[in-house]
């Protein structure tokens, strides 16, 4: 007989609403289950949360610092706030930084209309960026037979790195450099097309929230991503 694991349940508040969750859930998990929308970009169901984009920052009453909801474990009696003026201001600033750090010309981008960065801008009401654009010079890697890596659109969410490592098991992607100069690279910063570890599965392309990773042959606004495989693979691996 298989012994059932004991599930510990915790009760707390999000924006004044009483919610309950399993002890191993994060604030974001419970918020999503309860239909409370917290803006997010690096989080992806089926991948480990790493708190990279900081968009999901929330306040915990009684704590000074802000924490990322996608990595914060829930605790009994805590009171989480997701829509304070301070948070709204920071979320805007985070998005402004993401837009200003690379080169985003939505009108000519493969992901126009299907882009999570665009959607987040809409959801926080961002219609312009106050921060000066950096306009970095970044080269597109078109060496792969089927895929394209355009770092001009990358927001360093790390999803490609995680899916390739955690799901495909190839670990082709990694991060190189620090801060604003960080880039995602394939193998040892070699061209994707000559990568010996890449299996060509395309998972990275489809989890990428922006137009940074795309399939070759698609034109402006045609790169709609397919992600149904993630929760499916996750359940196959027996991970909750």
């Amino acid at each position: 007989m298989i012994e059932k694991p004991r599930i510990r349940v915790k009760t707390f508040k999000i924006d004044g609403i009483d919610v309950t969750g399993r002890a191993d859930q994060t604030v974001l998990d419970v918020a999503i289950e309860n239909g409370i929308d917290i803006p997010r970009l690096c989080y992806m169901e089926g991948l480990k949360s790493i708190g990279a984009c900081r968009l999901c920052l929330v306040e915990i009453e009684g704590q000074r610092g802000l924490i990322s909801a996608c990595t914060a474990r829930i605790s009994e009696g805590m009171s989480v706030l997701t829509k304070t003026d301070r948070l709204l201001k920071y979320r805007r600033q985070i998005l402004e930084l993401l837009f200003s750090e690379r080169n985003h010309q939505c009108a000519v981008c493969v992901s126009n209309g299907h882009c999570e960065l665009q959607n987040m801008a809409i959801s926080v009401g961002l219609t312009h960026v106050d921060i000066a654009y950096l306009n970095p010079k970044l080269n597109i890697d078109a060496s792969h037979r089927r895929f394209l890596n355009d770092p001009n659109r990358c927001i360093l969410c790390n999803r490609c790195v995680r899916v390739c490592d955690e799901i495909e098991g190839a670990h082709t992607w990694d991060l190189l450099g620090r801060g604003v100069d960080t880039r995602v690279v394939t193998d040892l910063d070699e061209h994707w097309g000559i990568s010996e570890s890449c299996t060509g599965c395309g998972k990275c392309v489809h989890v990428c929230p922006t137009g940074a990773l795309s399939e070759k042959g698609v034109s402006v606004a045609e790169m709609a991503k397919r992600r149904n495989f993630l929760p499916y693979l996750k359940s196959n691996r027996g991970i909750s």
Partner: protein
């Protein structure tokens, strides 16, 4: 009294101005309440480029040349409420893509490498001196409202203008976005 409207075309493709015209029959309705005092649509000449006392100005395109910078500053000084219309005005967008290339390289590409006539002859008049970097309008002057889109849909422009005429503050993210 009618609201005095000016429109200005800086470094853009004129698509935003086309989209304004796409308001079609609603233009007739707007014309009851708006007087166009300066615009590529009309043929007015003023000694100081723009007339005084503009209520609303709509600007398409980014600030790319010294001439653009001069005009936008003039316009701002004479305008109560200034609108950035379209992604080039707001982000630099396609016009701003030249920021990834040095100016001499770009000039060489346009007037030499890809030129069919007068190959290699650099312009000495008409083409204004370029700014080192293309900038969005809000990096040059204060902007009161942003209407993103490439071009912004006519519906979004109509919504913005009619809300403003009725004394309301339009919420543009409800009707348009970057790249729309």
């Amino acid at each position: 009294m009618k609201t005095k409207l000016a429109t200005l075309w800086l470094d853009g493709c004129s698509g935003c101005h086309m989209s304004f015209l796409d308001m079609d029959e609603r233009l007739i309705e707007l014309a009851q309440r708006i007087e166009v005092v300066s615009s590529p649509y009309v043929d007015f000449k003023y000694p100081d480029y723009f007339p005084d006392g503009i209520d609303v100005a709509i600007v398409e395109g980014s600030v790319s040349s010294e001439e653009d910078l001069h005009k936008i500053k003039l316009l701002r000084a004479k305008t109560k409420f200034l609108i950035s219309l379209g992604d080039c005005a707001i982000t630099g967008n396609v016009s701003g893509m030249r920021n990834l290339i040095e100016i001499p390289d770009m000039m060489d590409f346009v007037y030499n490498e890809t030129a069919d006539v007068n190959k290699g002859v650099m312009p000495t008049k008409v083409v204004p001196p370029l700014l080192k970097k293309v900038i969005p309008i809000n990096q040059a002057v204060h902007v009161d409202l942003f209407i993103p889109g490439c071009p912004p849909p006519a519906d979004a422009i109509y919504y913005a203008l009619s809300e403003l005429l009725n004394g309301n503050t339009p919420d543009m993210s409800k009707v348009t976005r970057f790249g729309k």
